[in-house]
């Protein structure tokens, strides 16, 4: 990416996005976390595939099981995109370079969102094919041309990206790495366990349930006491809404608080 010198005009989204892209790619930890996440999703797909006994199961959903587990990592990465700036003091350099704070968060969300989407789709597609290839003899692998399969694979990657953006929003709201990660883990995982015990009616609205039971399914599914999970597209909308709300609150606080 080259930058050309301009003397007139003023900074715009494209300059801010370039800054964020330079920042993101120059941290080795970003690539490690993404690589581990993709490798983990593929490994789980293979393990689930090898142990499959029921040909009538949603084999696509099974192959994408690792996507749900990788959500925590991409969420943490999203948190660190923001809290890493506060813990290091980099935030002051960033905001002195670009005083328009909502623009900074928007550029971060766009750059990180695209990287997370690319990683999520890569994980989702490779896991799908690897899981299919690992199925025992006699169980035919699902194909992308079958109804709902391509949608499930694509939305698996999209869910991965959206959870990353929820992490970014939480990072902007909370600013401290351990606290933000704790809220993410509690919100995405622990609450799911409680809700599963207490009331199944809320279950379909939990981020992890949306990714596991709405986005990555070929056929609609039910909770244990027959509450319907959200449809894939409704699930995508709900997860997008969570990301938009956390980022919106994060932007609002970013403008109001001292850096």
């Amino acid at each position: 990416m080259t930058t050309t010198a301009t003397t007139d005009g003023r900074y715009r989204f494209s300059q801010v996005a370039r800054m964020e892209w330079t920042k993101l790619r120059s941290l080795r930890s970003t690539w490690w976390v993404l690589a581990v996440t993709v490798a983990g999703a593929i490994g789980i797909a293979v393990a689930v595939g090898v142990n499959t006994e029921n040909a009538a199961a949603d084999l696509t959903n099974n192959a994408l099981a690792g996507i749900s587990l990788g959500l925590l990592l991409v969420g943490v990465l999203g948190v660190l995109m923001m809290t890493g700036e506060y813990s290091s003091g980099m935030i002051r350099a960033t905001l002195a370079a670009i005083p328009n704070r909502p623009l900074v968060l928007a550029a971060k969300a766009a750059v990180f969102g695209l990287v997370a989407l690319a990683a999520g789709e890569a994980a989702s597609f490779i896991a799908f094919f690897a899981g299919g290839a690992a199925l025992p003899d006699g169980i035919p692998a699902p194909a992308l041309g079958q109804p709902g399969v391509l949608r499930a694979v694509v939305l698996g990657g999209a869910g991965f990206c959206l959870v990353g953006l929820i992490g970014l929003g939480l990072g902007a709201i909370i600013r401290h790495t351990p606290a933000a990660i704790a809220v993410l883990v509690v919100g995405v995982y622990v609450v799911a366990q409680f809700v599963a015990v207490l009331t199944h009616a809320l279950m379909p609205y939990l981020p992890i349930a949306i990714v596991a039971n709405s986005l990555t399914v070929v056929r609609p599914t039910m909770t244990d006491d027959q509450v319907r999970f959200l449809s894939p597209w409704a699930g995508l909308g709900m997860l997008g809404l969570y990301a938009a709300v956390t980022l919106g609150v994060g932007a609002w606080l970013l403008v109001r608080r001292d850096a």
Partner: protein, 246 residues
């Protein structure tokens, strides 16, 4: 030109900056002096739009900081704390900042050479010594070749050679006609570098005058400083301790 007008900031019950007004003029090095906790850093953060004042405002070349079109090409700043990510190389840090303000990459190598970090720039900045971190911060401030520079304790952690280098750098920036505001707790250093001083205590203006005038009235800038800040009794004790131990 930096214009500070009636700037006030309070953190809970603590008044950090209290109705502060002063100008920083181009072509001179203005020293910003005050005991620890007197509000220097807070004032600088407010000038840079990082902290929001409770009252008053600061303008740079007539504009609020947030209205600047290419902030890094208009104002260069070094803040007291390290403002870079430890996992990123010094070069990548500067490239990111350059990209944000449409500054060409060749300028990154230029400022790295200028501050003497050309060889170390590929290393993770977290492994930098305090002095190297300070040089990276100065490189970031110079990146956009700005007309206005704000430097908070720039010689912190530098060796005598580095201190002299900063002094010469600041003097040459002012000689170019730039506006330079530099804070330091090293009064002797300010006496050698600055033409003008703004002295504050407990967030209020105590003096806004030329170094020559202070030197004419007191035996030394240090004497002037202690006389001027003697009203800030609670800070005085801390300073005396500091003077004895350092």
């Amino acid at each position: 030109m930096i214009e500070v007008r009636g700037l006030s900031k309070r953190y809970g019950a603590t008044v950090a900056v209290d109705g502060l007004s002063f100008d920083v003029r181009p072509g001179t090095v203005t020293g910003f002096l005050g005991p620890n906790g007197s509000g220097k850093s807070t004032t600088m953060r407010m000038i840079l739009g990082l902290d929001r004042p409770d009252a008053g405002q600061a303008r740079i070349g007539g504009s609020r900081y947030r209205e600047l079109r290419w902030p890094l090409r208009q104002v260069g700043a070094l803040l007291e704390a390290r403002a870079f990510h430890p996992g990123r190389s010094g070069r990548a840090h500067l490239r990111a900042l350059a990209a944000s303000n449409g500054i060409p990459r060749s300028r990154v190598e230029e400022v790295l050479g200028l501050v003497g970090l050309a060889d170390a720039a590929g290393r993770r900045a977290g492994r930098f010594s305090l002095g190297m971190g300070q040089r990276l911060g100065i490189a970031a401030a110079l990146l956009g070749d700005p007309e206005v520079l704000l430097l908070d304790e720039p010689v912190n952690g530098l060796d005598p050679e580095g201190i002299r280098w900063v002094r010469d750098l600041l003097r040459s920036l002012a000689a170019d006609g730039r506006t330079v505001l530099v804070s330091s707790h090293l009064i002797g250093e300010i006496a050698r570098t600055a033409d003008h001083v703004v002295v504050i205590g407990r967030g209020r203006l105590l003096a806004d005058t030329s170094v020559a005038e202070l030197s004419a009235r007191w035996p030394s800038l240090e004497e002037a400083f202690f006389e001027l800040t003697s009203g800030s009794a609670e800070y005085r004790g801390a300073l005396d301790t500091k003077r004895r131990t350092s």
